[in-house]
């Protein structure tokens, strides 16, 4: 069964229950979101060891006994995004306090308390941005999984990748796929629709209560440039 056949809560609850595969999926899915937030908060590189360690710390908060998972309630209207944000924020504060107390053996070697981003609006925006990108990645994954069921869909996905990842114009895509250039345009149009469907499906996993239009509105909100 595809992980995309269930709501995100299934992954979350599975991770909460200690399922290794679900925990892996959990970390893979939400790790970049947490990293982006911490990097913006502490103004240090995204891929630094400090961020890596701190991200692990956030996960530990979820996975440990009596951890954040214990307080998780899928029925809460604010959704998992808000929950994740809260845990990440709290963990960051704890680490900052600890670092300030133990200057010499700082928990956050690169941490400079004077440089911490304090603007909630900014940090929330960064988090949302990273969250949105996570959704996009998940949507791509779902699209790939669905495309595997059909050659035509696989071709369409490939066409999309050549266009967006490689930046090739249609006339260069056409020979690679063995089709006429007009066909490339058609394929891209259909692939776009398929991506949309996948994205809305991923969104619905977090907001099962929303209608399609409401899901689209949520997507539009997340896609607004900072």
């Amino acid at each position: 069964m595809s992980r995309f056949d269930s709501t995100c809560w299934t992954v979350v609850m599975g991770a909460a229950a200690g399922n290794p595969a679900d925990r892996d999926a959990f970390c893979r899915q939400y790790g970049p979101v947490i990293r982006a937030y911490l990097a913006a908060r502490w103004r240090i590189p995204f891929d630094s060891e400090t961020i890596t360690d701190a991200t692990q710390e956030v996960f530990l908060q979820f996975f440990r006994t009596d951890g954040a998972f214990e307080r998780l309630d899928p029925e809460r209207s604010s959704g998992f995004r808000a929950f994740l944000y809260g845990v990440t924020n709290r963990t960051a504060c704890v680490l900052e306090r600890k670092s300030a107390r133990e200057r010499r053996d700082s928990s956050i070697p690169e941490f400079d308390p004077d440089r911490v981003e304090r603007s909630e609006a900014t940090l929330s925006a960064v988090f949302d941005r990273a969250w949105a990108k996570m959704l996009g990645r998940e949507a791509r994954g779902l699209m790939a999984e669905r495309a595997a069921r059909s050659a035509a869909a696989t071709n369409r996905l490939r066409c999309l990748e050549l266009r967006l990842v490689r930046g090739l114009p249609p006339r260069e895509i056409a020979p690679r796929l063995g089709v006429e250039v007009e066909r490339v345009y058609e394929m891209l149009g259909v692939a776009r629709k398929e991506f949309r469907a996948a994205l809305l499906a991923v969104m619905a996993g977090y907001h099962p209560e929303l209608s399609e239009r409401e899901l689209e509105e949520k997507c539009s909100e997340l896609a607004v440039p900072p």
Partner: protein, 1160 residues
């Protein structure tokens, strides 16, 4: 589900970009939007115009490109069509058409030829071109993978791109968007540069310059990862061939390292890096890939952030890359030769071995031919060595011969070293052969290093020369005088030396203020301005012998400069008269009289008054017990068509003015001084100027009845705008500083008058003009406060010249003159350095007989370094003050044989010594000699403006030429605007003033001048915006202008707010309040108007305008008797005819109303 047309799925673009981002970074912005525009989404058209369409080839920024078939010739063509969405944009249509024209004009194999241009039925323009089958350089580089592969092939492609751009540059065209995507490499290796849509030619530049203020706001055009810094900043005026050189460097960077100069995750990031020229990463990549240091060096130079540091155009780059490729070929040939020789040698060795083996069995044979084979081997090696050494020697000799060429001694063109470098490199390559003698390689490398060093020095010299040229142009601009704020004392200890005595708290820096010693021994200071362009001041300070105190009088005269101040000991009052009410360039003078009673100012209502003026001489005459006024200037005062200063004498008796009628008078003048000389017990007048004439050096005496000229044994050098006071302790009249006129030459000398002769005080003092001198009775000696150190702050001016010369290895201030001159002589840019020394010395003010020590040293260094006898002669004559010698030189000069800088040197020297007619003549000849020299045009305009009021047409023409040569010259822009405004050509004036604020948005007075011009041109809303900018920059006078502009726009409430704010900020008591009162009256708020105006009149009862507006407001309130009284007072006080007329008109109305009252 809603129909697709109703659904807004624009969010999808972002999610798609984010989801399919290979780097997994925030790269959404850098991606092309996936949502293609409807035009492209549509099916392929069957035909475009007459051409059947075969396929869509691509999509540019504003157009689509298709492959079509020429129906007549049956050949394939490319057709480029502007997209319909852009048809409404004139700018984009123009750009599209220009691209076609440029491509058709550039007839070069590297530019795709344009066949035809036209319009489709729907109006879209199109043009057809030769179709290029191949791949973009971007594609080839991407497919290459490893940057080390096929380097030679890509360098060949690069060389052809350079050749194409070199051709374009030689035809005045800049591409503007060089990237690997815009280079097509055909199937047969042909290379073409595409997409000239951003190209600029001389015509496009001229058109944009003409658009001026109407031009669209600058956009950043180009591909971010390859943008030159000037492009990334949107500085379109700076885009030129060096911008393309940057683009070439970017392409070369990608060829060598596999990536463009800038790497970033977002477009914004790329643009930031590009605008700042952040190339550390690119440099690191170049160093890491390092296929050849020469290539890396070329790439780095092309990518220099500063335009001046790059090769001047693609031709230079083409030459260098060709040179590199040919040396590469040579190296390959050498390597091949070595390989062949090695193979041959190996074969020979094998043959010898076989022979040895064969012979080894028959040892006798070897004995019969003892050592023959060995000998032959040795002989072969020796011959090869001799041949190699011979080749090395020939290459080395060729390099040395080329280096010895005299032209290389003086060249600043690095390309001039190409041939000797090539020969030296040949020698180096040959020296690497195994057959070369030991030590050859080291010698050859040393020669290469020497040539590279000389080439680098030539490039450095070129950069220095360019900086000096820019400095010289800049200094002709920087003429606005800035004030100092220091306090100096002369002879406080009885000596004749100047000592700085600046206290902690002092009046702010100012010039053109007034100071007078008061009866209690203190000194009063009033008004002035921090620069010659304003803003004006009206603060009051007193000096108590040790410190300055700012006074807070209840009443204050309006702001002014150049006012006259005297002290009446009988009435124990300081008296102030006149002054200039506006900054430089506008005409508004005072004619009011004020008195200072020790605590407050009082305006004295007078029956008569001298005509308004500034820079009059004013002093108390104890014989008549009056304050005497002589001369002064009002630029509006004309004798016929000429402006001329006054030569009248007036007396103030504490109550009124009386014009006196002496039988003799000094010549008319302004900028002079009048001081009571206790030795002579008479007023002594000295200095001053008359337009067109040098400063006066005469001495006059007023004996209470009449003027008579004294004939001192020796006189001071003529001057104006100096300070003068009587030093009681020494019993001498002292004058100091000032300006030699009309040249802006500052003086730093001090002279004393003992009643019989003037003598110079030995110690040099501070160089100041526009600064008064006053006796310091409490501490002794004389006090000098503030003033100007010249048209240019010499420290800054000198500092900049000094910095450039120091960086060129010539520290004039640290070295002795001979050593500095030696370095100048050795330089390849000796002429430029000498010109810079002349310019610098001029700004250090080196008149004959006087001048600063540094200034004299600069002249000495220039003379020692300059091999030009003619110029040395001019400098010597100037130092000696030999006017006749300079005149003879001017008469005999052969203009065609002299560089224009020599003529400029002669002209400025003539002007310095006062030979203005000859100076003007030589400047005119210099302009004819070199119509492209900004300096001489600007200087001639200055000189004519100062000396010949009738020459305004010529001044206008000269300034226009100067501006065409130096479009960002602030002074020229402001001067032109002023002249045009004087002629009522306000619209044209605004164009120049707008350009001035665009050049320097913070330059003083710029926005206010612009606002006034716009207001005069009837563009009130734009004037409002300009005044707001001025106010934002602290020019509080502009707030009143803003209030008036807002009123014109009908925005009365905002006008009132602005006037209220101005009233709170301005120290002047009544002016802004009068405006505020008028506005309140207009807004139908007469009660508030009355309150404000009464407050204004409490502060200044003599403000006629306030009386007028008060009268109007009282009339509105029905308080007719009071209104009449106020209007009558206003009528009595008003000096301006328009105020008088307004008072009269309103008075009629009020009286009519009074007459209608029952019972009247």
């Amino acid at each position: 589900m809603p129909a697709p047309a109703d659904r807004d799925d624009s969010y999808l673009d972002w999610f798609l970009s984010s989801a399919f981002d290979a780097a997994d970074g925030e790269s959404a912005d850098a991606r092309v939007s996936f949502a293609e525009d409807p035009e492209e989404e549509a099916a392929l058209p069957e035909r475009i115009g007459p051409y059947p369409v075969a396929e869509r080839l691509g999509r540019g920024g504003i157009a689509n490109v298709y492959r079509v078939v020429d129906p007549e010739l049956g050949r394939d063509l490319a057709i480029k069509v502007l997209r319909a969405a852009h048809l409404d944009s004139d700018d984009l249509v123009r750009r599209f058409l220009e691209e076609a024209r440029i491509c058709s004009r550039l007839q070069h194999p590297g530019v795709v030829p344009v066949h035809e241009m036209g319009r489709l039925d729907d109006g879209r323009p199109y043009f057809t071109m030769k179709i290029v089958d191949g791949h973009t350089l971007a594609r080839l580089l991407r497919d290459r993978g490893d940057p080390r592969r096929d380097l030679r092939r890509f360098l060949d492609i690069f060389e052809r791109v350079c050749a194409t751009l070199s051709f374009a540059h030689s035809h005045g065209t800049t591409h503007g968007d060089l990237t690997p995507r815009n280079v097509m490499v055909g199937a047969f290796g042909e290379v073409q540069v595409m997409d000239w849509g951003f190209a600029r030619t001389a015509e496009t530049r001229a058109r944009r310059a003409a658009e001026g203020a109407d031009a669209p706001a600058p956009r950043i055009l180009g591909t971010p990862a390859y943008l030159a810094p000037e492009q990334a900043r949107g500085a379109r005026d700076e885009v030129g061939p060096p911008t393309d050189v940057f683009g070439l460097g970017a392409i070369l960077c990608e060829i060598l390292t596999g990536a463009p100069p800038y790497l970033g995750d977002t477009k914004a990031d790329l643009l930031l890096r590009a605008s700042k020229g952040w190339l550390d990463d690119a440099h690191a990549r170049l160093e890491a890939c390092a296929p050849d240091p020469e290539l890396v060096d070329l790439c780095r130079r092309c990518l220099a952030p500063a335009i001046a540091d790059r090769p001047a155009d693609a031709g230079v780059v083409a030459r260098e890359i060709r040179e590199h490729l040919s040396s590469l070929e040579e190296r390959l040939r050498v390597v091949e030769r070595e390989r062949i020789e090695a193979v041959a040698a190996a074969r020979q060795e094998r043959r010898v071995r076989r022979l040895s083996l064969a012979l080894g069995a028959v040892a006798l044979l070897a004995v019969l031919v003892p050592g023959a084979i060995h000998l032959r081997n040795v002989q072969d090696r020796s011959a090869r060595r001799a041949e190699t050494e011979g080749a090395i020697a020939r290459s080395t000799e060729r390099a040395r011969v080329l280096l010895a060429d005299d032209r290389l001694e003086r060249t600043t063109d690095p390309a001039a070293f190409a041939e000797p470098l090539k020969a030296a490199r040949e020698a180096e390559l040959l020296a690497r052969l195994p057959t070369a003698a030991p030590g050859s390689l080291a010698a050859a490398r040393a020669l290469v290093s020497e040539i590279l060093g000389r080439r680098e020095r030539a490039a450095e010299d070129a950069r220095t020369a360019e900086r000096l040229r820019n400095l010289r142009m800049h200094f002709t601009d920087a003429r606005t005088e800035l004030a100092e704020g220091r306090t100096w004392r002369l002879g406080a200890d009885g000596s004749r030396t100047w000592v700085e005595a600046s206290p902690f708290d002092a009046p702010s820096p100012r010039l053109d203020h007034a100071m007078i010693a008061l009866g209690d021994g203190s000194i009063l200071l009033f008004g002035g301005a921090p620069t010659r362009d304003g803003p004006l001041l009206n603060d009051t300070w007193t000096w108590d012998g040790a410190a300055w105190t700012r006074r807070e009088p209840r009443h204050v005269p309006p702001v002014r400069t150049g006012h006259a101040l005297s002290f009446d000991p009988v009435r124990n009052r300081a008296v102030l008269f006149g002054g200039n009410a506006s900054p430089h360039g506008t005409i508004a003078y005072h004619s009011d009289t004020w008195e200072w009673d020790g605590e407050d100012w009082h305006r004295i209502e007078t029956g008569t008054s001298p005509p308004r003026r500034d820079w009059a001489g004013f002093a108390f005459d104890p014989r008549r017990e009056v304050s005497l006024l002589f001369g002064g200037r009002d630029s509006d005062h004309r004798a016929g068509d000429r402006y001329e200063p006054y030569g009248d004498t007036w007396a103030w008796d504490g109550a009124d003015w009386t014009r006196l009628a002496p039988t003799t008078s000094p010549p008319k003048r302004h900028g002079h001084r009048l001081v009571h000389d206790r030795n002579l017990d008479a007023l002594v007048l000295a200095g001053g100027q008359y337009p067109g004439a040098p400063g006066y050096d005469d001495t006059w005496l007023w004996d209470g009845e009449d003027w008579r000229e004294l004939t001192p044994t020796a006189s001071y050098p003529g001057r104006a705008f100096f300070g003068m006071a009587f030093d009681r302790a020494r019993g001498r009249l002292v004058l100091h500083g000032g300006r030699r006129v009309p040249e802006a030459v500052l003086l730093e000398d001090t002279w004393e008058f003992d009643g019989a002769t003037w003598a110079r005080v030995a110690a040099a003092g501070p160089a100041y003009a526009w600064s008064p001198l006053a006796e310091d009775a409490r501490s002794g000696g004389l006090l000098l406060q503030g003033g100007s150190t010249g048209p240019n702050r010499s420290r800054n001016v000198g500092g900049r010249f000094a910095e450039v010369l120091r960086e060129a290895g010539i520290d004039v201030e640290a070295l002795d003159a001979e050593a500095a001159a030696a370095r100048v002589r050795e330089s390849t840019i000796r002429r430029e350095l000498v010109d810079a020394l002349d310019e610098w010395s001029r700004f250090e003010n080196t008149p004959p007989r006087t001048g600063s020590a540094l200034g004299r040293k600069l002249v000495l260094v220039a003379n020692l370094a300059d091999a030009d006898d003619w110029r040395r002669d001019v400098r010597d004559a100037l130092q000696a003050g030999d006017v006749e010698r300079l005149r003879r030189t001017a008469a005999a000069a052969d203009d065609a044989a002299l560089p224009v800088s020599s003529l400029a040197l002669l002209a400025s020297s003539l002007a310095i010594v006062g030979a203005h007619d000859e100076a003007i003549d030589v400047y005119r000849r210099a302009c004819f000699r070199d119509p492209s020299d900004f300096n001489v045009h600007a200087r001639l305009a200055d000189l004519l403006e100062f000396t010949d009021p009738d020459a305004s047409d010529e001044v206008l023409r000269l300034l226009s030429v100067a501006l065409a040569l130096q479009p960002d010259s602030l002074r020229t822009l402001n001067s032109l605007a002023r002249l045009l405004s004087d002629r009522g050509r306000h619209r044209e004036a605004t164009v120049y003033l707008e350009r001035a604020v665009a050049v320097d948005k913070d330059h003083l007075g710029g926005w206010r001048r612009l606002g006034r011009a716009l207001a005069s041109d009837g563009r009130t809303d734009e004037a409002r915006r300009a005044f707001e900018e001025a106010v934002r920059r602290g020019e509080w006078l502009a707030e009143v202008d803003l209030a008036l502009a807002l009123r014109e726009l009908g925005r009365i409430d905002e006008a009132i707010a602005a006037a209220r704010h101005a009233a709170s900020m301005l120290p002047h008591p009544s002016f802004p309040r009068a405006i505020l009162g008028a506005l309140l009256g207009e807004a139908g708020r007469p009660e508030e108007a009355v309150e404000v105006l009464e407050e204004a009149l409490r502060r200044d009862p003599f403000d006629a305008t306030a009386h007028l507006y008060l009268g109007c407001a009282l009339d509105d309130l029905g308080r007719l008797e009071e209104a009449r009284a106020s209007l009558e007072r206003g009528l009595r006080l008003a000096a301006e005819p328009e105020i008088q007329e307004a008072c009269r008109d309103r008075l009629e109305v009020v009286e009519a109303r009074l007459g209608e009252r029952p019972g009247d």
